[in-house]
């Protein structure tokens, strides 16, 4: 299991990378390589040119600006997981990232790589959906373009990125200071791909009623699924067991698909259970944030 031969490019700047992308016919961007390299080793992917963007320093960085989090595409998953200010401001990131592979893959794996690979089970894609992320892509021909996460998923493993475009940055809308979160995922073993995962964030008023609910499912469709019906049920309510149950029940009206390992019925059942667990955590956790 060895990768097929390719030409290797190590651009030092983003401009250089974009020029290479516009010139090469069958090129792949190499970010952290934790999904691309296995596919190359198994020869699911055979690229003529590999453009390694690991040395473009400008693509790495984490910044919290008011109520937004800006993350450069080449930021390692480990670095986001261990970011102290983010742990305080939005602890769901560390919680969700602990489910992404293992320490050794998170040390290489990047935020931009995860979003561009767009695995249906991706925890990061789920967070991006829940936090209404905006994804910046750039090309030589058309310059800078911003994509809303809601229209980013075109099909399985197919994000809205043209062959000559490079994902450069993602901007997450952070929840307000007073919020609680939950994250639940079922996989065969910890660190494996999620069969179904659910995440929830409740922003709360002083009387403990929910002023804004954000709930998302991963692993059930080509892209993340925002549970707007469940969000509507909970908005303005106190998170009582009955309200949480009713919200989790909305997952049962969605359509589920089976695959080689998991039947549609099983996935549907897991969707309710994982959603209920995420909601219970979000309702029960102590107040977080500033």
């Amino acid at each position: 299991m060895k990768a097929a031969p390719f030409r290797y490019h190590r651009p030092a700047t983003q401009r250089e990378a974009l020029e290479l992308l516009s010139q090469c016919e069958n090129a792949k961007i190499l970010a952290g390589g934790q999904s691309l390299v296995p596919m190359m080793n198994m020869r699911y992917v055979m690229a003529d040119d590999v453009i390694d963007i690991n040395r473009i320093g400008a693509l790495t960085g984490i910044a919290i600006e008011d109520d937004h989090l800006l993350v450069g595409a080449m930021t390692r998953q480990s670095d986001l997981l261990n970011h102290q200010e983010l742990k305080h401001r939005a602890p769901i990131f560390a919680d969700a990232l602990s489910y992404v592979g293992h320490m050794q893959t998170r040390n290489r794996g990047t935020i931009g790589g995860s979003l561009a690979h767009m695995d249906p089970a991706s925890e990061l894609i789920g967070l991006a959906s829940m936090l209404d992320a905006t994804i910046t892509v750039e090309s030589i021909q058309r310059g800078r373009r911003e994509c809303a996460i809601s229209t980013f998923a075109k099909y399985y493993f197919t994000p809205d990125i043209a062959p000559d475009e490079l994902l450069t940055e993602v901007r997450f809308a952070l929840p307000s200071g007073h919020h609680r979160h939950g994250f639940a995922e079922f996989s065969q073993r910890h660190g494996d791909f999620a069969i179904v995962g659910a995440a929830a964030i409740f922003e709360t008023d002083i009387d403990k009623s929910i002023s804004k609910a954000r709930i998302v499912l991963i692993g059930v469709d080509a892209g993340p699924v925002r549970l707007s019906a469940a969000e509507n049920i909970l908005t303005g309510q106190k998170p009582t067991p009955d309200a949480l149950r009713a919200a989790a029940e909305t997952t049962q009206t969605l359509e589920y698909k089976g695959d080689g390992l998991v039947s549609a019925d099983y996935r549907k059942r897991l969707a309710r259970i994982m959603t209920a667990r995420a909601l219970e955590q979000a309702a029960g956790q102590p107040q977080r944030g500033t």
Binding site: A3, V50, H102, Q104, R189
Partner: protein
Amino acid sequence: MDQTIITLTVNGTEVTQPVEPRICLADFLRGQLNLTGTHLGCEHGVCGACTVLVDGRAVRGCLMFAVQAHGLKVETVEGLAPDPQQLNPLQRAFMKHHGLQCGFCTPGILMTMTEFLRNNPAPGERDIREVLSGNICRCTGYEGIVAAVIEAAAEMRGEQTESSLLTETNPT
């Protein structure tokens, strides 16, 4: 095939070699540098046998091309022992607690735990198991590995343990 010249530091020694871009770091270490302590199991990032440190961080040696390590510092299992006659505290604890049986996965686990213990000098069992989840061992059942890491951490913190006593010439 076209080759690229790369220069990197491996266990403290600078190495310059031509390498084909498609060669992964683990194959480069084994095939071109004869550092065969790094093993390859699954070759798609699941088993962790090929784990090495790159700039101090544990990574899968099969999921990084050797050309990507140009200019970086690589540490392998061969660099752990202070000299050929002596093991380091982590290796010693693995021996004492039967943290290995066939030994195939051991180099990867040692490298994973080397980074982990540098950042977490006093880890809990739960944290050790969480990190260990990135390495697969089919012999030991992991119990001995966890016990070894707990003891190695204690010894590296300067606490006296049974395996530290084993190496002292005049135990008190």
